[in-house]
């Protein structure tokens, strides 16, 4: 468990779809959250400012009216009265000579920022015996007679809030991104781990282990639903495969038994007849015909078995070059007798996972065909070559070849070209090679050797057991 936990913290994590989605989501969330908070702040500040301005304007209007109706003394009284209420209002009334007549500010501010009809300025305020700089916003104007009246409100707190906001916002966005990333990594690691289990199980099943099932957890989530559906599908496939194996087995048994009796009786009759008897030749022909029937039947069964993956259990690491050398050696005298040069291109040690017997048989079929159809004096070449995608096993001859439009067709069962209709063979040779190739995850292709036929079995680089990285690679487009 520990191993699998840490295994998923690989660079591959960044390339998983789950992590990418989380990343995009976190980013979008951070941007929209910042925008939302920013807008709310901006809007609140604006309406608070408007409120302050309104209060100031009302006060100014009130004080101006006081002055116009009752004069300077009444204005001073009114100002002092308001100061005495300990509100948040700031006031100062200065005479044309510069002396302060009333208010809770000690002097007119020396400098101020003008915003529209309002000014913003700093002033000193005594707080617990200390002078502290505060910010205020207000309106100043001249009264008739050269008096200056300034009405303002302390807005330090809001400035402080803004400062707080601008310093904390990047931090909170940063934290949000960090938590998002960690959460995303955890989430995608978890998803990845479960997908990985499904991937590995399916790879195992593709390799022929039909009894494997995807584990189901107790979470009852989408993954479990997927796993359950996959398992149901696998149950069904396994049932079908077993059914097919049973059919193949019983067909094999039920046809071989009467074929056996037929051949037995023919042989018995042959033994009873003397060599000089007139029917001996007929019986011999009948036995030969029976043997051809048996050969066809055996080839068909083998194709069915290869396609059912029945022989996958007996795959081992085999040295392909050794297998090829053995088959070449088996056919060398035959080629020599027909005056055909059978050449095996030298190759290094090439190992594949496969079934030696079936690969030998497939290769023997190809070489047999090549020698059969190549005229005397021709060449047959066998090449094992490593390609970027795997290993190619090629048998090329200098015979008549197969016309391009017929190449697909000859891989079908029982298809024999007109030109070879009368030579011995079951017509299943190439189908058998193709089936053996399929069983090895390989492909049989027929090409032009100019002149002649070029049959290539292309084995994948890592047949059967795919490594983890191979499973993941296709889901990540480069």
């Amino acid at each position: 468990m520990r191993g699998s936990f840490f295994r998923h913290w690989s660079p591959g994590l960044l390339r998983t779809q789950a992590f990418r989605i989380v990343l995009i989501y976190v980013f979008v969330f951070a941007v929209s959250a910042t925008a939302l908070v920013g807008f709310t702040y901006w809007n609140t500040e604006r309406s608070l400012d408007a409120q302050t301005d309104q209060i100031i304007e009302v006060e100014v209007a009130g004080l101006r009216e006081q002055y116009q109706r009752l004069g300077l003394i009444a204005l001073s009284d009114a100002i002092n009265g308001r100061v005495a209420q300990h509100g948040s209002g700031l006031y100062i009334l200065v005479s044309p000579t510069g002396s302060v007549l009333a208010g809770n500010l000690t002097e007119l501010p020396s400098s101020a920022k003008v915003t529209g009809r309002f000014v913003e300025f700093d002033y000193q305020r005594n707080q617990q015996g200390q002078d502290v700089t505060h910010t205020a916003r207000g309106q100043a104007f001249f009264l008739t007679g050269g008096f200056v009246l300034l009405v303002a409100r302390d807005v330090s707190e809001r400035r402080l809030t803004r400062q707080l906001f601008t310093t904390t916002l990047p931090w909170s966005v940063g934290l949000m991104l960090l938590f998002g990333l960690v959460g995303g990594a955890l989430l995608s690691r978890n998803m990845l781990a479960r997908l990985d289990v499904i991937n590995r199980t399916s790879a195992d099943i593709v390799a022929g282990n039909f009894s494997r099932r995807v584990p189901v957890t107790n979470a009852h989530d989408e993954f479990d639903a997927l796993a359950e559906n996959l398992n149901r599908m696998l149950d069904r496939i396994e049932r079908l495969m077993k059914g097919m194996r049973n059919v193949v087995d019983s067909v094999a048994h039920d046809l071989r038994t009467p074929l056996n009796r037929l051949r037995n009786r023919l042989e018995e009759t042959q033994r009873r007849l003397g060599p000089q008897d007139s029917y001996t030749a007929d019986i011999e022909a009948a036995i030969a015909e029976t043997d051809r029937l048996i050969a066809t039947f055996n080839d068909l069964l083998l194709i069915a078995e290869a396609d059912a993956g029945a022989a996958r259990g007996r795959m081992t690491q085999i040295e392909l070059t050794a297998v090829v050398e053995d088959v070449a050696e088996l056919y060398a005298p035959l080629a020599e007798e027909k005056n055909i040069s059978l050449a095996l291109a030298p190759a290094g040690v090439v190992t594949i996972e496969g079934n030696r017997s079936l690969i030998s048989q497939a290769l023997a079929n190809l070489v047999d065909n090549a020698i059969k159809y190549t005229p005397a004096g021709g060449q047959v070449g066998i090449v094992v070559a490593e390609t970027p995608t795997g290993i190619d096993l090629t048998v090329a001859d200098s015979g008549p070849g197969i016309p391009e439009e017929e190449r697909e067709r000859v891989l079908e069962r029982f298809v024999r070209l007109e030109s070879s209709r009368n030579s011995p063979g079951t017509g299943l040779g190439l189908s058998l090679v193709a089936a053996v190739a399929r069983m090895h995850d390989a492909r049989l292709t027929l090409g032009d050797n100019g002149p002649g036929l070029r049959a290539t079995i292309s084995f994948p680089r890592t047949p059967q057991r795919k490594s983890r990285s191979d499973i993941r690679e296709p889901s990540v487009p480069a």
Binding site: N264, E267, N298, L301, L334, A364
Partner: protein
């Protein structure tokens, strides 16, 4: 030779028994696994021919039980099952040879001859001789009448197999299985070509031809 035949297809059984008797063997027969096992454990046979699928007790189980009792009688499996997997299972269960139905009777005879011969192996041989043909298994050299014959490694193995079964019919399938370790029938009879090359090497220029073709069966090496 005493032979036990365990076969449930009575038609095939009758044929087998008749054929073996004609060939001069003494034959007992059984039609199911239990009877077959009882016979095999109670009497000394030289070889047993056992069908893979039998009523009451499967052929594999019969052989496994025999081996469990320390019975090392040579056993030839007959099977009508498809071949790919079953040969391995049969040999693993303790069978000595495996023949798929339908088979040629000469093939069966040749194989049981080989099995009975295998049962009594004389001390490990380092030299094989047939007539004036000698095979030295240690130095890997072949000589005929004192003349050294140049053989390829596979030709040596082919000759060795033939000489180990000197005086016995050896079929093409047996040669393919033992010398090349192939369990399939090549479409063309490549074995014949190998044999004629070997024959050219060992018999050419000699009055007595040691390597003979047995028509309809296979080959045999023997000194006349």
């Amino acid at each position: 030779m005493r032979i036990l035949v365990v076969e449930d297809d009575l038609e095939a059984q009758r044929y087998l028994v008749n054929g073996l008797k004609e060939a001069g063997h003494v034959v007992d027969e059984a039609a199911d696994g239990e009877t077959g096992l009882a016979l095999a454990l109670s009497r000394p046979y030289d070889v047993a021919i056992i069908d893979r699928m039998l009523p009451k007790m499967d052929g594999l189980a019969v052989v496994a039980e025999m081996r469990e009792h320390g019975n090392n009688m040579p056993i030839l499996f007959l099977s009508a099952l498809s071949e790919v997997d079953d040969r391995v299972k049969g040999l693993k269960a303790g069978g000595d040879d495996y023949l798929t139905k339908p088979y040629a009777f000469v093939e069966l005879l040749a194989r049981i001859d080989a099995l009975m011969r295998r049962r009594s192996p004389s001390a490990v041989k380092t030299k094989l001789s047939v007539g004036d043909l000698d095979l030295d298994l240690l130095t890997r050299t072949a000589t005929r009448a004192g003349q050294v014959i140049d053989l390829q490694p596979r030709e040596f193995r082919l000759l060795e197999y033939l000489m180990r079964h000197a005086g016995q019919v050896v079929t093409r399938t047996m040669l393919l299985e033992s010398v090349w370790e192939y369990h399939f029938d090549p479409q063309t009879n490549v074995i014949d070509v190998h044999i004629s090359r070997l024959r050219a090497k060992i018999d050419k220029g000699f009055d007595v031809l040691l390597l003979q073709t047995i028509r309809g069966a296979g080959y045999m090496i023997r000194a006349r």
